[in-house]
C-alpha cells in the first residue's frame, strides 16, 4: 500500500522542467539567421572558387568578414541548441548527456576555429 499522492509523484517529472528559455534562444538566433544566411550565401559564394590571393583580398574587406563572423557565431549556437533537442528526443540515459556535451564541444570548437580564421584573414 502506497501513501504517496498522485500529485507528489508527478511533481518534478514534467517533460523537461524547462524549455521557454531554449525556445526563445532558438527564436532569436532564427531571426538573426534569416538575415545573415542570404548575406553569407552570396558573400561566401563569391569567395569560393577564387584563387588564394582573391580569397585573402575578399575576406580582408569588412562586410564579407563581418557577415561570415556573425553567421559562424550565431549559426553554431543555433546548431548547438537544435542538435540538443534532436539528442533529447532520441537518446536517453547517460549517452544523452555525453552526446550533448560532445556536440557542444563540436559547435563551440568549430565556431572558435571559424572566428579565428576570419579574424586572421580580415586583419
Amino acid at each position: 500500500m502506497a501513501y504517496l499522492t498522485d500529485r507528489k509523484r508527478a511533481v518534478g517529472w514534467g517533460a523537461s522542467k524547462t524549455g521557454t528559455q531554449h525556445h526563445w534562444s532558438m527564436k532569436k538566433s532564427s531571426v538573426a539567421l534569416l538575415i545573415l544566411v542570404p548575406l553569407f550565401v552570396f558573400t561566401f559564394g563569391n569567395a569560393l572558387g577564387g584563387t588564394y590571393e582573391e580569397v585573402l583580398a575578399y575576406y580582408s574587406r569588412p562586410f564579407p568578414a563581418i557577415v561570415a563572423a556573425l553567421t559562424i557565431a550565431v549559426g553554431f549556437k543555433h546548431f548547438n541548441d537544435g542538435v540538443q533537442v534532436l539528442i533529447e528526443d532520441y537518446v536517453h540515459g547517460p549517452m544523452e548527456k555525453v552526446l550533448i556535451l560532445a556536440m557542444t564541444c563540436v559547435s563551440y570548437g568549430a565556431a572558435g576555429v571559424g572566428l579565428f580564421a576570419i579574424a586572421r584573414l580580415a586583419l
Binding site: V41, L56, V113, L121
Partner: protein, 129 residues
C-alpha cells in the same frame, strides 16, 4: 489509486513508421530536422576552408581542392538546398508560433511553398552565385 498503470501508459507512436500514413506535414517536419542537422557537414567544411585560407597557401590549396572537387560540389549544392529548405521551414515555424495558418489546408499549402520554394532558391543560387 496512485499506483495504477505506472510505466504502462500509452505513448504517442513516432510519426514515421507503421502507425501513421505518411503525410506531407510529417515528412516536411522531419526534413526540417534532417536538413538542419545535416548542415553540420557543409559548415565544418567551410570552417576548415577558412582556416586553411588563414594558415598558408599550401594548406589552402588542399582545402580548396576538396571543396571544389565533385564531392565538394555535391556537399555544397546539397547544403544550399538544405539551407534554403531549413530557412523556409523556420519561417513557417515563426508563422505557427504566432498561432496563424495552423489548419490543415494552410499547413499543406506552406509545406508545398517550402518544397517548391527551396528548389527554386537552390537553382537561383546555383546560377547566380
Amino acid at each position: 489509486m496512485a499506483d495504477v498503470n505506472r510505466g504502462k501508459r500509452p505513448l504517442s507512436p513516432f510519426m514515421i513508421g507503421p502507425y501513421y500514413r505518411p503525410q506531407l506535414n510529417s515528412i516536411t517536419s522531419i526534413l526540417t530536422r534532417i536538413t538542419g542537422n545535416a548542415l553540420l557537414i557543409g559548415s565544418l567544411m567551410i570552417v576548415w576552408w577558412l582556416l586553411a585560407a588563414a594558415t598558408s597557401e599550401a594548406y589552402f590549396a588542399v582545402a580548396n581542392a576538396v571543396l571544389t572537387s565533385w564531392f565538394g560540389d555535391l556537399v555544397m549544392f546539397g547544403s544550399v538546398w538544405a539551407l534554403w529548405y531549413h530557412t523556409l521551414a523556420g519561417v513557417r515555424h515563426m508563422i505557427w508560433d504566432e498561432g496563424k495558418m495552423l489548419d490543415v489546408e494552410s499547413a499543406d499549402m506552406l509545406s508545398w511553398a517550402i518544397v517548391i520554394g527551396s528548389v527554386i532558391l537552390t537553382i537561383f543560387t546555383a546560377i547566380f552565385v
